[in-house]
Each structure stands twice: as C-alpha cells, then as structure tokens.
C-alpha cells in the first residue's frame, strides 16, 4: 500500500512547526540549534517526497536533500563552535543572557 503524497507533506509540515516552536521557545542555544535542524529536515522530507511523486525521472530532489544534509552538518559545526566560545567566556549558553547590546 503506497502512502500518498499528502501524508508526507503533513509530516514535514508538522516537523517544521515543531522545529519553529523549538526555536522560538527554547532559551538554551543548543535547543534552538536542534529546532533549526528539525526545520531543515522537514524541508528535506518535502524535497524527497516531491522527487518521488512529481519528478521521479530526474534526481533533483534527492540530490538537493543530500546537499542540504552536508550543509546542515557544516552549519551545526560552526554553530556549536560559536556556542562553545560563548560558554567559555560567559559560562552560559542561555540566549537571553547574551544581551550586552541594546538599542
């Protein structure tokens, strides 16, 4: 039994929404990073689902998803490095406490 496209899109949209909620509600920078990863992977599910259902003859969606996985890894590496350097300096990874600049 094949799972229809709409199910995949619903899962992806739900994952995106969960990630979005995580980014907006988490005060811990690592939690925020996790939320962003969920959002990126939601888009990945979409890309692969659209490849399977819309353009199965061309590999565009799959290749795109592989690129995104690589890019997300690079982004997470840079992000964690930044979080570590903030922790070394302030002994905190809570985003709200990084507030030396205000207008």
């Amino acid at each position: 039994m094949a799972i229809p496209l709409s199910w995949w899109l619903t899962v992806a949209a739900a994952l995106f929404a969960i990630g979005l909620y995580g980014v907006l509600s988490r005060r811990n920078a690592i939690g925020v990073l996790l939320g962003i990863e969920l959002m990126l992977n939601a888009a990945n599910i979409n890309l692969v689902a659209f490849w399977r259902f819309i353009t199965p003859q061309a590999l565009t969606g799959q290749v795109f998803a592989i690129f995104v996985i690589g890019i997300a890894a690079a982004e997470a590496a840079a992000g964690l490095a930044i979080i570590i350097s903030a922790y070394r300096r302030r002994r905190t990874v809570v985003v709200d406490e990084l507030d030396t600049m205000r207008w």
């Binding site: 995106f16 990630g19 980014v23 920078a29 925020v32 990073l33 962003i36 959002m39 990126l40 939601a42 888009a43 979409n46 890309l47 659209f50 819309i54 353009t55 061309a58 565009t60 969606g61 290749v63 795109f64 690129f67 995104v68 890019i71 690079a74 982004e75 840079a78 992000g79 490095a81 930044i82 979080i83 350097s85 903030a86 300096r89 302030r90 985003v95 990084l98 507030d99 030396t100 600049m101 207008w103």
Partner: protein
C-alpha cells in the same frame, strides 16, 4: 561500461574557482607562514587575480555548467563589486587585526571562502547553487563575526547572526522545496517557463514558495521586519568584518533576489512581488532612517543606515524593468564604496581596547587627522545623496526607475527619506568638524596614504566616491551592456 561524464563548461566559472582555490592556498600557507600579515597580502593577490579573470571574461556567456550557472554581464558586474569589497575588506583587516592583536591566518581564508559563496550566488541559475552559495557565504560570516574571542560583544554578534541566519535559511529551504513542487524543477529559467506556460495560473504552492523565499532573502539583506539581527551584529562584530559583510552579504542577497524574481517568478507573479517589494522598500527605508536618528554608536548608526539603503536598492527591484535593474546595480556599486569606506574610517578611529566607537570619539577628528575626517565627510555626503558624489547618481537612477514604473509615491517617499537621513549623517560631520576633542581622544592610525593598508582602503573608496560621481557615465556605459 564507463559512466558518461557530463560536459562541464568551466571557463565562465574561473573567478569562482580562482577565489576558492586561493582560499585553500591561504589556509595551507597559514601552516608555514609565521607573519600572518603576509597572508593578508597573499589573499589580496588572489582577489586581484580573480578580478582580472572577471574582466577578461567580459561580456560573459548566457549559461554554463549544465545550465546550473550563469555568467552574463550582471553576474560579472556583481563579481567585480564583491571583489572590490573583498579587496577593501582585506586592506582594512590587515591593519585592524594587527592593532587589535587578532592577526590570524584563518581570518583571510574565511573571508575568501565567503567571497566564493557570494560569487556563486551571483552566478546561480539553479536554486541548488543559490542555497549552496548562500550557506557558503553565511557560515564563513558567522565565524568571522565571532573572530574576536576576547570581546563578548563579538561572540554575542556571532551567536545572534548564526541563530537568526540559519533560522532564515530553514524558511528559505522550505520555500525552495515548495517552488520545486510547483514547477517540477529547481532551474530558475525552467521554473519561469513552467509557471507562465503549463502551470496553474497563480498556483498557491508557488505563491507560498515565493513568500518563504522572500522571508529568507529579507533576513539576508536586512529588510524590515526581518532586520532585528542587523544592528547588533554590525555593532558587535570586529569592524573590519562589518566593513566587508555590510556590503558583500547585502549585494549577494540582492544579486540572487533579482535573479529569482526576474527569471523564475516573472511574468506570472510579477504584480504580486512588485507590490510586496514596494511595500517592503517603503517600510525598510523609513524604519532604518528613523531608528538611525537616535543612535549614539557610529557602527550601530551605520548599521541602521545600511537597512535604509537596502530599502533604496529594493526600490530599483520593485520597478521591475531593465532601467530598475541597472539602477539597482549602480546603487550597489555606490553603496559598496560609501559604506565600506565609512566602516574603514570607523576602524581607524576605534580604540585598541574597545570594539565600539561612540559619536563622541569623533569629536575634533578634523583637527587630529584632517584627511581621515575629510574622507568621512565625503562618505557621509555621498550617503545623503549630495551631488556630484556617487550616492546622488545612485539615488537618482533608482528613483527615476520607480517613477517610470508608476511608483511615483515610492520615489517621493525615498526623497523624503534622504532628507531625513541628512540629519544623522550631518551629526557625524558636526562632531568631526565643530566639536572640541574630548579629554582622552581616540588614537587613530595616522593617515598616511601608501604607508598603511587601512589608509589605502579609505583613499581608494573616497577616490571612487568622487571620480565615479563626476563621471557616472563610465559605469552607466558598462551597465548598458549588461
């Protein structure tokens, strides 16, 4: 059977390859070279080589690299803007990092990687390349803004830039996925022909994709209401980084935004995005200028001013005509010289132990170093849009394009905004020329052209502001061929 490799026409991508290869070279040389300053000059050589290659490729070819890249006049023009910005950014950094005791090899390598990302963005003809270039540029910039590990505001800037930047990337990627669903392709030209030909008229999936892409672009080029990271990041990041990214990242964002709107979402969605762009332009320039009025820190003031200028650039895009695109291209070139120059002066004025410069630090600058003050005066006048400086022509071109496109209200609002902006730019001039220096004046680097790299950068930017202002025809002729 041997797999058939596709033919890759790499010649139009030589600028990108030169910059990427040179970045790796700088990274390797970092292992052996003790004097990190030399790496700055090595990187600068690479930027100059890439600029020569770009000029040699003029006027470019339509598409290359299996239709995934495009190297037309517009892409090559943007390449030149990025390379000029990169060169100014390197010249500023060589001296600034020395004073701040931050001289490290990876700074120069990261700057070049980010430059490569920008060039890829301007050359993108496929959403995959757009995303790849965007991330290549952004990740390098996140790390660069946090490169002053001793300064809490630099780390804070990096953190804010990283979180909001990758948040925006996620929206952008979701938009790409929906656009791919609507058009069955990620190639910009194919998306355009599908949507206007066989696609459903006003396809809601494509429209949602377009909106999410606009949110992503809005973050990257700092349009109101997606601009909240800008002032903090511009203020907190090391000033040499701000000088580079305030121009480079914005120019790259606009390069791709233009390509996506004009090639993929025209003509089916033109009326939709013209409305959105016009409203965003109006809100962005007004908010940027109003917020800049109350700033006390020069880097933050220039940050809000850069938001306002993103609004003016968007006026050119909203005109949705070749005249508008040419106006936008001219504006970005002008903006590169004015803003990079102003941040270079901010580098020179900045004290060794702090990362920000208040307006009070500029008091009496005209007496302490007259040439530096004169250069800053030129940049401020040009940012206001006083003739005959380059900033005047850039505003004239985008506003004229808006009037021709029946957006006269936007042009009027733009002119009013320019008048408003004169107030805070003049505030800097008043500090420099009419106020007595404070008790402990900031210690600028002495302004000795040809002796210090920073001074060379300021001199070049100031010279371009004046010369291209007196002979705008040189650039206009170039743009007519784009």
């Amino acid at each position: 059977m041997r797999p058939q490799l596709p033919t890759l026409d790499l010649v139009p991508l030589y600028p990108l390859l030169v910059v990427t290869g040179w970045a790796v070279l700088v990274l390797l040389a970092d292992l052996f070279v003790q004097h990190k300053r030399a790496l700055g000059y090595l990187a600068l050589t690479g930027v100059i080589v890439a600029a020569v290659v770009t000029v040699a490729l003029w006027p470019g070819v339509p598409t290359s690299f299996q239709n995934m890249a495009i190297s037309d006049g517009q892409a090559l023009f943007f390449n030149l803007v990025f390379l000029v910005t990169g060169a100014l950014g390197l010249l500023v950094a060589i001296e600034y990092l020395e004073r701040k005791d931050l001289q490290r090899g990876e700074y120069y390598a990261l700057l070049m990687f980010s430059l490569a990302g920008m060039i890829a963005m301007a050359a993108a003809e496929d959403l995959l390349i757009v995303f790849l270039g965007l991330e290549m540029m952004s990740v390098a910039l996140y790390v660069l803004s946090g490169s002053n590990q001793r300064d809490m505001s630099s780390i804070e800037a990096a953190m804010k830039y990283f979180i909001l930047g990758s948040f925006a990337s996620a929206f952008f990627l979701y938009g790409i996925a929906l656009t791919y669903a609507a058009a069955g392709s990620t190639n910009l030209a194919q998306i355009g022909s599908w949507l206007s030909g066989r696609g459903i008229p006003k396809d809601p999936v494509a429209l949602t994709g377009l909106s999410l892409l606009l949110v992503g672009f809005g973050f990257k080029v700092a349009l109101v209401p997606f601009h909240w990271w800008t002032p903090d990041v511009y203020q907190g990041a090391p000033t040499s980084v701000t000088a580079f990214m305030s121009v480079g990242a914005k120019a790259a964002g606009f390069a791709t935004l233009t390509r996506v709107l004009y090639s993929a979402f025209s003509p089916t969605f033109t009326t939709d995005w013209v409305t959105v762009a016009a409203v965003l332009a109006a809100v962005t320039m007004t908010f940027g200028n109003l917020a800049a009025l109350v700033q006390r820190d020069v880097k933050r003031l220039l940050g809000y001013s850069s938001i306002a200028h993103a609004g003016y650039v968007l006026v050119g895009i909203a005109a949705a005509s070749p005249v508008g695109v040419r106006g936008m291209l001219f504006y970005i070139l002008a903006y590169a010289f004015m803003t990079a120059g102003a941040f270079a002066v901010a580098c020179a004025v900045e004290r060794r132990e702090q990362s920000t410069t208040t307006l009070a630090d500029y008091a009496g600058l005209a007496q302490r170093s007259p040439l530096l003050a004169a250069a800053m005066l030129l940049f401020m006048l040009s940012l206001i849009g006083i003739p005959p400086l380059i900033g005047f022509w850039s505003k004239l071109f985008v506003f004229r394009a808006a009037v021709e496109a029946n957006l006269a209200w936007l042009a009027v609002l733009g002119v009013l905004n320019s008048a408003l902006s004169a107030y805070y730019y003049a505030g800097v001039v008043v500090q420099m020329y009419l106020r007595e220096p404070g008790r402990s004046p900031a210690e600028e680097v002495a302004f000795r052209p040809w002796r210090s790299a920073l001074a060379v950068a300021v001199f070049l930017a100031a010279a371009a502001t004046v010369v291209l202002g007196l002979w705008p025809g040189a650039v206009v002729n170039l743009l007519m061929g784009v």
